[in-house]
Each structure stands twice: as structure tokens, then as C-alpha cells.
Assembly symmetry: C2
Homo-oligomer: 367 residues x 2
Amino acid sequence: MLPDVVREAADAVGPFREEAMQYGPLMGLDDLRVEICRFVAEDGIVARPENVLVTYGAKSAFDLACRVFVEPGDRIILTRPSYMTAIHIMRMHGVQFIDIGQDENGLSTDELEVKLRRLEANAEPMPKLLFDVPDFHNPTGVTTSLPRRREVLELAQRYNFLICEDDPYRRIRFSGKAVAPIKALDSSGHVISLGTVSKTLAPGLRVGWAIGDAGVVRRMAMQKADGGSNTFAQRIVVQLMRSGRISHHIAELTERMRCHRDTMIAALAEFLPEASVRTPNGGYFLWVRLPKGANADQVVELGIRNGVEASSGRLSFPSEDPGNFLRLAYSFAEEDQIRDGVRRLAAAFKSLRPVESSTGISSKGKR
Amino acid sequence: MLPDVVREAADAVGPFREEAMQYGPLMGLDDLRVEICRFVAEDGIVARPENVLVTYGAKSAFDLACRVFVEPGDRIILTRPSYMTAIHIMRMHGVQFIDIGQDENGLSTDELEVKLRRLEANAEPMPKLLFDVPDFHNPTGVTTSLPRRREVLELAQRYNFLICEDDPYRRIRFSGKAVAPIKALDSSGHVISLGTVSKTLAPGLRVGWAIGDAGVVRRMAMQKADGGSNTFAQRIVVQLMRSGRISHHIAELTERMRCHRDTMIAALAEFLPEASVRTPNGGYFLWVRLPKGANADQVVELGIRNGVEASSGRLSFPSEDPGNFLRLAYSFAEEDQIRDGVRRLAAAFKSLRPVESSTGISSKGKR
């Protein structure tokens, strides 16, 4: 559900043309940084414009953070599974992963603490950075509980690593109460909050941000290859935020995404009852576990041949992959397409299963 | 002189909304890659869409090339002086500079050859890459001659380094005949051509490209942090290229820039006759040499306090700076502003000179 930005684009090519077509300030348009402060204040994040760096989306912001804070060989903490593109970015920076399990309350701080203690005891290099998506985690949909957020922050303070809190889905909440961002709990400067309009407005605009200590975001800005970035799209986002149209759009989008989620959950129950899935309270994805032994890669491959796209869970695992997970996005397809897609995927799954078991039988009976 | 893109923006938010607001293909919009091939064909560059990677401008393209081809400590060849932002990008990648002088025909291939031979003879690591702006060089305005282009290419082939040919100003030509891009002379895959619409349309759009071997540009694409980049602005550029409006805009812009250049040259002759400057046949800059011993940094600093912006030549030198150069952009100011700016800069220069000489006299007469 993409926004109608006719009015805002007309502003950007009309009254704001001089600004929108020209090189912009390194940190982003001042007007946008003010609006971003207002936007995140609704989540309890206290930020001033000097704390905000405008980027080409949260991914670019994370890449800039890696450029500043990690060297090849450095350790980064992340959940297992984690956001596939973040894994790709970290790999580009040549880091080593400390991957930590996750339960229904988020990243396992117990497991993390054990690993940190062991590293410390062995006098090994300590991690520089932790990456997580605490709200409607990509891919699992889990929202980290408040106590768990406090524990993660405490560990960051004790072991002195930086938390990159990537929060693209926060506003797409269907039910339940929002939990404070880790950034809102942080008074020691251990958190960089990464935001974007890709999931609330449109990915094609490429507007996101990093919020952190003024000195930190300024160092990140110095790592930009092209200075002030895309003033044209930034102006469109300013206008959408100023007029409050972004909030209306998010409200409509959330309602729509809730229906999509329900349709996909129902379709899975109908066509693929062998799969298990936890219903997320928000976000864009379902994280689907196929029965043990199922080959998600093959299901996806056959699905694509039958006209349905899904992601193999393999892409979301920084190291070992259990092999039987799928990430299904309900965001951009319409409801009948979602039903039809799940049906095709289920057919792919089923056509692969019987072959295996019949092979099993025939090989048993062989000679 | 910024383009009017009302119609194109209306297309991007209207009939092309689904595409323009969504994630795009990693390599850029197919339509845009086709148009870029047509655009560079006018310069004699033969490229197919698979040779084209769309980026956030030429700077981003160069950064991606550095990500693929250089490691910290690697050597890069560049002119002395060179484009300041390219120097910044190379520094971010931790490279060592092999800086080579430039005359009115471009980079000194004699000096380069001597240095390459010496490195080879000493069994030292050879350079991976050469960066140059052969048309209306930034900052000197020099256009590399055809024989010199052939020589650079020959050296690249012999010593196996890659040429990054950054060509943002090529179409802003006031007089004289265009020289073939090095890319058009290359049949061995030793050249990546970097292009942008920042100087022909608008920097705020952030649309540029790299043209090279299909495998090379694909490797560069894998280093993007955010996938398909800004589809919205890409669509606007497609529409401007398809309709031919870009050519009309370039023709008008070139005429305007010629007047700006003439105004600035005349103002320098009138207000700052002590300076020497070579009149460029195109592009956006004058490269001004102040008399020996003048301090360009101080002139710029005082100029800024007096309401005129200029760049100290220091920023354009990869290592030692002669100290007495200025880069003056005539691109974005109006003609009366250009005259007024040069007058203020000349006043800054003069107010600094007498102080120096009178200090000299008074210290002579001291005690």
C-alpha cells in the first residue's frame, strides 16, 4: 500500500525546488532532522537535531555505523536468525559473528552473558557492536520484552559495546502495548537507533536515519561517499511528516497489514497445517517452521517455478541453518494473492514430501 | 540552473507509482540502464544494459569501485591536484597515493611511467587503480588530449590497473571539439566510466552510474548497502532522458555556464589582476593561482567572513599543497553575484597582502 505523494512531490519541484534539486547539508535537511525528532519523541526517544543523521534508509545507516565502529575481524553480536541484509552488510565488513538464540522475549541475554564472560575470561577481543530488531523482529516477528531490553543495555554498558537498534516495523503494530525502544532507556550513549520510512511510507524514497550521540553521528556522516544525500526525497518526507499525513498513512497501512497477516495465517492453517507459526503482533513477516527434515531451499525453488516468492530461512542465519524455515512476507501482495501463494507453496512442499517418503519405501524394498 | 521536473515527478507519483515507490532491481531500473546506454553512445561508448550499474551519483560509484578493488594500504594513481571528494573517499579506504603532475594535455604519462617502472624494478606492490577526470578536470579545468588518453590506457593495460574515468562535466562544453572518453578507446576492460546527472540535471536527485564489464559492475552492485537504490528519482531521470528534455536542458545550461565563466574571468581581470588563470573550455570551475607566497587558506577564510565562498586549493592536493591556489565555482551563483564575489575575494586577498609587506618593513626597521 504505497502512499499518494502527489502534493509533496509538487512541493519539492515547486516552492522547494532550489533546495530539493541542490546538494544538501551533510547531516540531512535541517527541517527533516527536526521532524524526525518529533516523530521518535512519540516513542519516548529524546533527540535533538544534532543527534540525527539522515541516510538512504536504515541499511545505509547501519553500513555507516560499521564503517566507523568495526574493523575486519571484529566481533558483532546478533540474533540467530537475524535480518538477512544486515548479515550481508556485516559480512562485507569482514566481521566475526557472535550469534545468540532468541525466545518469545527476544535475544537470550543469559546466553549472551555466558559468551561475554567466556571471552573476557579468555582475554579474547570483545565485541564492538550488537545488532538487533527489537520490534517485530526480522524474520521471527518477536518483540523483545522490556526486562530483556534493560538487560541487553546493561550488558552493553558493562562490556562497552554499541547497540544498533534497527526499528523499521515499530509503528506497524496490530495489538498489544508498545515497549519502549532501547534507545529511550539509554542514558549512557550506548545505543544508535536506526529508522526508516521504507516500511511506513515507501522504500523507493530511500530516506532513513541514525540517532545517537552528536559526535557519533557526525563521525558516521564523514563516512558518507556522497555528502548530503537525496534532498529531493528528503523534502517529500518533511512535507509528509509536517502535515501529519504520515500518521494517517501508517494507520491505514497497519489496518491493511493486519488483514494480510490474518489471511496468511488462515491460509497456512488450511493449506499447510504441517507448518508451525507464531502469530506476530505487527510487522511484515511470518516465520514458518516446516516439519523437521523438510528442505526449505527446495520448497522456495519449486515455489518460484510455480509463481510464488518466499525466502528460505537459510538467508537469515549467520552460520548454521536448521534447513526447515521459511520467511513469508504478507506486506506487498493482495489478499487473494496471499491465499493463492500459500496454496502454491503448500503444493510445492507436498510434492517434495511424498517423493522422499516413497523413495524411502522403494529403497527399503530394493533387492 | 535547476531543471523543471514537474511533469516527470508527476509521472513518478502517477502512472509509475508502483515502481517508483517500491524497492528496485539491484542494478537499477532496466529502463534507466537502457537510457544510460543511449546517452553514453553519443560519446562513442558502446555499452549494453548489463554493463550499467545505477548508483547515487558518481561519488557512490567510485566508492563501490574502491570497495571491490582496493584494500587498505593499496596504491592509487591520481592527478596532483585532484577532485577533493574523490581524495576523501580514497582516504576512507586507507589507500596510499601515487600523485602525478598534470600539464595542459592532462596527466603526465611520462612521470607516471617512470614511477611505475621504478615500483616494478623495486618489486614493490603495483597500483590497483587510477582515478582521473579527463574532461574539464576538477579542479584544473584541463581536458586530457587524445594521445595522452591512449597513453594512460596503454599503461593501464601494461601494468594491469583499472582506470576510473569520472566524467561529470563532459557535456558542459563551451568550445572546441570533444575528445573520445578513455572508455570508448578501451577494448580490454581496463576502464570503468563513472557518470552522473548531478552536473547536467540536479545533484539532489542522486542518480549516477558506473559502466564497465558486466562482471565488474555486478561485483560493485554486491557492495551496495541498500539494494536497488532510489527508484523514485531514477524514474524521473528515465522520463527526462526518454523525452529528450535532458538534452535541451544541457544546451541551455551550457550557454548559461559559458556566460558565468566569462563573467568570472572578466571579474578576475578587473579586481584580481595579480591572479593567473587558464580559461577552461567547459565545466564548472576556475583554478586560480595567486602570487607565490599568498595564503589561499586565509583568503578563503576572510572571504567567507565577507560573504563569499571559495575552496582553498589545499583540499584538492592529495599531499603537499603549494598554498596559493583557489578553486572558484561559477556554476550556481548568478552573474552579479559572481562579480560581487570576486570583488570581495580580491578585497580579502589585498587586505592580507599589505599587512604582510608592512610587517616586513616594520620588522626591518625594528630596533
